[in-house]
Symmetry: C2
Subunit: 206 residues, 2 copies
DNA sequence: AATTTATTTAATAGAGCTATTAAGAATGGA
DNA sequence: TCCATTCTTAATAGCTCTATTAAATAAATT
């Protein structure tokens, strides 16, 4: 119902699309619905974005970039490894707090249609690659100095993403099965932020 | 292409439906496609299962039960808590190895349509509730005796599900972004099974 | 064999969806 | 003011999908 600021329908369409794609995924969102919620004719969606696919990629690449940039930002800070790791986990977690549906979007679209995200990969691949390379170097160095135990970068990343993402992914499931309400989930989330840091730091210890 | 054993089309439809729902989710699977792959007329899908919704629930409830039964089986064994916990994690992991798409199915459908799974919840709710109650009691007892640190059952469960499930959820993402192949993933999975046990046991330590 | 019942197909109604097109309204510059 | 460009709508072609129905075929029963 929330209307756009400057009656710029192009922007309004994008915003509605973003919300709906995040809520229900690509397949279950129609351009008809997007238009209706944006308060314009359905044809206009195609006028501005040509195809539903292109509109989706607009949203998706932005979100995918957001997801990976969480790892990027901390890389610039000059901190000892363990502190940097803590910050990565926290920044990643906080980003998910602000974008709780992001994990769902990524999972859903990468799983059902890896092909669709190939173009997105092009856009963001230099991002993760450079970051990963840097992280890998630092990780190796820490291991070499015996400050942390032998661990692969992919294992470390997977731990962070699984623990952080799992909380948000499981939210609807816990809601449906255990009847967990919003407030209860919020309390859980508050706990998990620190716990995830603790668990991962503990796990990389020698 | 694999044909059904006794040319029982009802069964064949169910099996194809299971495979396709797991592969692509509810929304992206059509009864037309199911029929084609089962080698029968599209109307027959509706003859046996009436609606796509009902067919889906048939598949879904079976899979959801499988997911939760992984926690159930171990409960019967008479083991010290830490050993039991290890077994729960391992059994859960092994079950996912045999049903790698299961997490995706659960996430996708609970997230996009919590309403649809309400009927499923009815069927399986006594299952998790009794198991959870028992686990909760044991957990509390361990904490009381100071053998493990203070931790909520939901936190423990979330850790297990996140770490175990994350590996399978992230598979397509790692495939698409880092170009991770099947063999490499298998090696990763082998590592993660033990690692997840180690991490969680370490995390519940005092 | 005759008849009832179960399975399977073909055809189609009815709906919704994407994408295009042509026409109308608004806007801004000359 | 007039014209060109941009924005917006209405209409619709062409799909595909779900679900139903009637007719055909196969199986089972008497």
């Amino acid at each position: 119902m929330e209307e756009n600021k400057n009656t710029n329908l192009e922007q309004a369409i994008l915003e509605v699309a973003e919300r709906l794609f995040l809520e229900k995924g690509f397949a279950m969102t129609s351009t008809t619905e997007i238009a209706k919620e944006a308060g314009c004719n359905q044809g206009l969606v195609h006028y501005y974005y040509r195809t539903k696919e292109k509109l989706f990629e607009e949203v998706f690449s932005k979100k995918a970039e957001l997801f990976f940039s969480a790892f990027m930002n901390v890389e610039n800070e000059e901190l000892p490894f363990r502190e940097k790791l803590r910050r990565v986990i926290e920044v990643h977690f906080d980003m998910l707090m602000k974008n709780p549906r992001l994990p769902f979007l990524l999972i859903n679209e990468f799983t059902t249609n890896p092909g669709r995200v190939l173009s997105v990969k092009e856009k963001i691949k230099n991002l993760p690659e450079s970051v990963l390379a840097k992280m890998e170097k630092e990780l190796k160095e820490e291991i070499r100095c015996g400050r942390i135990r032998e661990i692969e970068l992919v294992d470390l990343m997977l731990m962070i993403i699984s623990l952080n993402g799992g909380l948000f992914i499981a939210k609807p499931i816990m809601g449906a099965i255990m009847g967990m309400g919003e407030e209860e989930w919020e309390r859980l989330a508050k706990r998990r932020r620190d716990e995830n840091v603790r668990i991962i730091l503990q796990a990389v210890e020698g």
